[in-house]
């Protein structure tokens, strides 16, 4: 892997904000003289890459660019904190909402607000206000989904209201630096929260307005390395997730359409059409351009809501991406020319190539991977004009390096005898060997029920905290998909609540039909922290030696209502062969 420093874009090579936005020539400008933070640094680099590597004519009829953006560098954050004397409350253990309100009461630095007002006076389209943290920059590792992002509709007729909404969003992102999840996360990275500073990206949202909804036709996340190759796909071919509407669906682990860029026409392995109807996207995130919602500046989704597919059909956006189930023939027909349930499978694009999405994604992935020197993950948003009057727009939103271990791990068949192992799985994420873990935290199978999963998350957080305080990594075993936003599908932890886990096991209960994947933010944190992740499908729970966990001699143990923590007298040995997707934990 190349030293990421080679890819740094220095502030001096960028243009400072000149109070123009859409009128300005520059796509990327900044305010202040601090750091850009990790996300903005990645985007500055991507701007440079796209300019130099993808010519305007390479994909006729498609505009590829980075949405216009201004970065408020970390010096603006420093000034805001100092000016409003917010450090005490920020470092305190006050709940997130109290911290957020205190930040809302603060005033932004005087040298910043004139620029913001000039920006907002000229811009009437929705804006994303995104975090870009100093530590993720310093560590060359993104903290995916740890800090706040706020979408604002920015369509109020008067500048004053738009200005106020923008400043509220900025203060929310600043406050999110000190939310509990972020503090826990930072602790797990061995950094100090006092070293963290926040830059803020103000960026146009790629999309069109349809009635009260504003959204891109397609959002996507593409990775040049696939930790979950299916069928004939190979890890090196990468993987792409697509969804209708804002990218929140994908990054939060909602339902998306997954394919390999080398085999775009291969469908995900649905057992039957019924499964396909049930397990493809049926809701999508949009920016609320309509009636103002209840005032709640400290809520991340204040101006967002989930719309139904019927809305998208009314908007005319389904025609590019949906197919229709024909009950008479029990077949899925491309397009929406027939009545019947719609299925978001992007077949017009992936099978009939109405625009070269796959080629563009591959080109961008290859370009980024070569420049970064390691596997990468990118985020993008695409608009297709339903009247075919405007060119297709491919908006590049994010590039992050991925951590892919190249350690060679061999697991022999004879190693897998049940007496020796605690568990094994053929669905494993990561690569490498860990033989230092003496602590196991597991959800007690005899008391587990999905309805208890929110309570379980709270119990895990307690144990996680005490283990982190004692500087101990642990093996975590539980049921359903970790980090699920739906408590019925898994334990709804955020990353900070399990940040001390070095090895994670998700075991599926029958009836818990959950695909083996996570939201891209959760997923990214798993890979960035080199967590070894085991999935044990429904029907294979017996592969876990629960009895050994119960009866094993332990140095000490803590038992809560749903969770048990045991400390072993000798470390476990964990091996994951990423190439074969095989993993084993030896007793």
């Amino acid at each position: 892997m190349k030293n990421p420093k080679q890819n740094r874009i220095e502030l001096s090579s960028l243009k400072s904000f000149n109070r123009k936005f859409f009128d300005g020539e520059e796509d990327f400008t900044y305010v202040g003289d601090g750091s850009l933070g990790g996300k903005a640094q990645g985007l500055a680099f991507a701007t440079h890459l796209l300019k130099n590597n993808i010519s305007e004519n390479e994909f006729p009829g498609v505009v590829i660019n980075i949405p216009k953006m201004v970065v408020l560098t970390t010096s603006c954050f420093d000034n805001f904190m100092r000016l409003n004397k917010l450090y005490d409350i920020a470092y305190s253990n006050e709940p997130d909402n109290i911290i957020a309100y205190k930040f809302q009461e603060g005033s932004l630095p005087v040298d910043l607000i004139g620029d913001l007002r000039a920006l907002i006076a000229k811009v009437n389209t929705p804006l994303a206000v995104r975090s870009s943290s100093l530590l993720e920059d310093a560590m060359y590792e993104p903290f995916a989904g740890i800090y706040g992002t706020k979408m604002i509709p920015n369509n109020q007729p008067d500048t004053t209201t738009r200005f106020r909404k923008l400043t509220e969003a900025i203060k929310f992102v600043y406050a999110s630096t000190f939310f509990k999840e972020a503090k826990d996360y930072i602790k797990a990275t061995k950094n100090r929260i006092k070293d963290e500073k926040m830059a803020v990206i103000i960026q146009e949202i790629v999309g069109f307005r349809y009635d009260d909804r504003f959204y891109p036709t397609i959002s996507g996340v593409a990775r040049s390395y696939n930790f979950y190759p299916m069928g004939f796909a190979k890890p090196e071919e990468g993987v792409v997730d697509l969804a209708l509407g804002l990218g929140k669906t994908i990054v939060d682990g909602g339902v998306s359409w997954t394919f390999s860029p080398s085999r775009p026409k291969s469908k995900p392995p649905f057992a039957n059409v019924k499964d396909m109807i049930e397990l493809t996207q049926n809701k999508y995130w949009v920016v609320n351009m309509g009636k103002p919602p209840a005032y709640d500046p400290i809520k991340e989704t204040e101006y967002m809501f989930e719309a139904d597919l019927t809305d998208a059909e009314y908007d005319g956006t389904l025609k590019f991406i949906a197919s229709t189930y024909d009950a008479a023939s029990d077949r899925v027909k491309p397009g929406i020319g027939y009545p019947g349930p719609r299925i978001i499978n992007f077949s017009q694009i992936l099978e009939f190539n109405i625009f070269p999405l796959n080629k563009i994604v591959k080109k961008v992935l290859d370009t980024c991977e070569e420049a970064v020197g390691t596997a990468v993950e990118i985020e993008f948003a695409i608009t297709l004009d339903k009247n075919d009057c405007k060119p297709v727009r491919f908006g590049f939103l994010q590039v992050r390096p991925m951590v892919v271990s190249d350690e060679k791990v061999e697991i022999e068949q004879e190693d897998l005898s049940p007496e020796k192992i605690l568990l094994s799985s053929k669905y494993v994420l990561g690569n490498g060997t860990v033989d230092t873990i003496t602590d196991i935290v597991y959800v007690k199978p005899e008391v587990f029920e999905a309805k208890y999963s929110p309570e379980i998350a709270i119990e895990i957080e307690k144990i996680n905290k005490s283990l982190i305080d004692n500087n101990k990594k642990y093996l975590l075993i539980g049921f359903g998909r970790w980090g699920s936003s739906d408590p019925w599908l898994g334990i709804p932890v955020n990353w900070g609540q399990i940040s001390g886990a070095r090895v994670i096991v998700e075991s599926m209960f029958s009836g818990m039909n959950v695909e083996l994947s996570q939201g891209s933010h959760f997923f990214h944190n798993i890979t960035s922290f080199r967590v070894l992740y085991f999935s044990v499908p429904a029907g294979e729970q017996n592969n876990i030696d629960w009895n050994w966990l119960k009866t094993n001699n332990t140095v000490r143990q803590t038992e809560l209502k749903f969770i048990k923590h045991i400390e072993l007298n000798k470390p476990l040995s964990v091996k994951v062969d990423g190439r074969k997707g095989l993993g084993v934990i030896f007793k």
Binding site: V110, I113, G114, T160, F163, R164
Partner: protein
Amino acid sequence: MATKNFNAFEMAQAQFDKVAAQLELDTATRNLLRQPLREYHFSIPVHMDDGSYSVFRGFRVQHNDARGPGKGGIRFHPQETVDTVKALAMWMTWKCSVVDIPLGGSKGGVICDPHNLSLREQEQLCRGWVRQLSKDVGPLRDVPAPDVMTNAQHMLWMLDEFEAINGAKYPGLITGKPIGMGGSLGRTEATGYGVIFTVREALKEHNIKPENTVAAVQGFGNVAQYAIELFEHIGGKVICVSCWDQEDQISYTFKKKDGIDLKTLLGITDRFGGINKIKAKDLGYEVLPGDKWIEQEVDILLPCALENQVTADTVTKIKPSVKFIAEGANGPTTPEADKVIQEKNIFIIPDFLANAGGVTCSYFEQVQSNMNYYWEKDEVLSRLDEKMTSAYLKVSELARQRKLYMRDAAYVIAIKRVAQACKDRGWV
């Protein structure tokens, strides 16, 4: 304050005449604009604490209100003259016009020394002033504000008297009120910040980064303090400030080559704004005579104290390194000195543009008071930045296009707007 041989009104008229000629204004417009529309001279009897009665002389001059209600401060000073007040009223007209706020120019004063008056006596003076003028000032006619030796308390007494006379609440009568009593957030900072907004834009235009600049400041009052704060905030360095020493009755310059520390200096400043010499020396500051601020090897001079400070004598002491002068004070440069500055090719941001942040924020206060709805500080200061920046850019653009000296360009814009308003109303 006016000194011997210096008549502020004559100077203001001379400046106007020069620009009127450039604009080729007709005689009627010139005659209208070189004199105030209205002048009020009156007596204010006050029952003193010792049982005696004193009669104070008060003024209000309304120079021009073609663009909107008059706006201007009230000064309490023993050496106040009507000519000074007339000049300042005229400058207010130009100042409101150059930043394009819908107000005219006024000024008022009372010949008195508040140092020698008890608070009760000052209150009587304020109420007496309003009683004399209650028919001629008001939110829609003429809006007073604090100025030399008057403050938020004086404004509140005046407001109270006006409301008592008129039998209703009129928070828009007066500006400079305390926060929570009709005052605006950001008002304290506005003038100083406004100076630096214009400096920032000037530096941008000249492709100079603030972090590569050093400034010397005359004064250490409200304007200077906030100008220093924001200047340092945007990356600049201030190496000296000068201030009046109440005890010694002379001014001193406090210099530190590595840059002054505003917070520390504020910590050793008395209630009159004078810095403690002994403590400053202990902190490593050089204590120099008061006029030394102008002789420093710096890029920017910020006269933020009194009028008539850069004179034919002192202007020769300005070092060749100085590229910018931003006049935070009213009328700090005499016409003779102005000529020299122009010859030296120093870029000047004239007073009525540079320090218009104060009146702009007063206008915001009046707007808020009239609505009885008050903005957040971000809102006030961002609007201030917008107004000041846009005013500066218009002036500098005209200066570039017509190769005018900045002061002349600012006057051209301001006077043209007022003259046009008078014409549009059919006055001339």
